[in-house]
């Protein structure tokens, strides 16, 4: 998903009551998983999926996302996606 500098609005995720603690690790991972599930069903262009993308891109360290993406390509992602 490419970023268009004209329309991009900088937003950080709002408080999520599922993850009330300081540690947001699982918030990041859960949104990554939800995004993968969402696009698997609706496709990458489905607009409501983007809320997950925005959340995990904002919360997750880049190298985690890279690692997961690599694992996903290799079919070794340690998350249940169905």
């Amino acid at each position: 998903m490419a970023i268009d500098p004209e329309t991009f609005k900088f937003e950080t995720p709002q408080f999520d009551p599922r993850f009330p603690n300081q540690n947001q690790t699982k918030n990041c991972a859960q949104n990554y998983v939800d995004y993968q599930k969402c696009i698997a069903i609706k496709g990458e262009d489905f607009e409501p999926c983007k809320i997950f993308w925005r959340t995990y891109t904002s919360l997750c360290p880049v190298d985690w996302v890279e690692k997961w993406n690599d694992q996903k390509e290799a079919g070794k992602l340690p998350f249940k996606l169905d």
């Binding site: 991972a29 859960q30 998983v33 340690p78 998350f79």
Partner: protein, 274 residues
Amino acid sequence: MKLKNMTNKVRGNMQLHPFHLVGPSPWPMFTSFSLMNLALSMALTSHGYMGHNYFMFLAMFVVFYSMTLWFKDMMAESSYLGDHTMAVKRGMNQGFMLFVVSEMLMFVSLFWAYLHSALNPNVEMGMMWPPMGMEAMSPAELPLLNTMMLLASGVTMTYAHHALMNKDRKNTLYGFMYSTMLMVVFVFCQGLEYSFSSFTIADSVYGSAFFSATGLHGMHMMMLAMMLAMCTWRVYNYDFTNTSHVGAETTMLYLHVLDMMWLFMYMVMYWWGS
């Protein structure tokens, strides 16, 4: 204080206090060394520093040998020398209670280790329990049978105890034998279950926590089977009386505590955790 019923000559000849001051014995030292030997040879064997496990089995044999020698001294002191007065028996019962409490706390720490990961599985586990890719054992098969056998062993144990207190030798022997056999079958079934398991102790925190806890329990079950076999032998050997049987009491207490531990373990680790 009434002295008129016993001659003072007798009283002066007896030990003046009820406590058992044990004589010099080589067995504590011997047992310590054999246990150290067992720990070292187990560690060296399991970390691959030795190409065989002969030393481990030798050390196990020596541990059992020293235990046998120590216990036969204790049986001689209690049954044949009459060193175990009420105060001594009370002390041994209290000591065993303290041991049991420390055992329970050890199991608490293992439950803590398990639940630490199980209640909030982290990202590396795929945020699920059992972790991604692990396949838990079915709680409805052999583990359920094992649970029923342990509950049954509680029944046969009480049966043996009541027979013992009512001076019924035949049923006491049967009760202890049934309990021993149930323990042996439990250990056998647990070994069978382990041998068909899809994961090992080295497979993720799930395998580690699961096998540490159930394996430690299984080792205690082996100990319990030995204790029960020894009780059976001591009943056969006329060592226990209907009112004085500290060895039987401690074995029974231990059996019930380990039964209870298994019930928690079954409910948490096999049933809820799968």
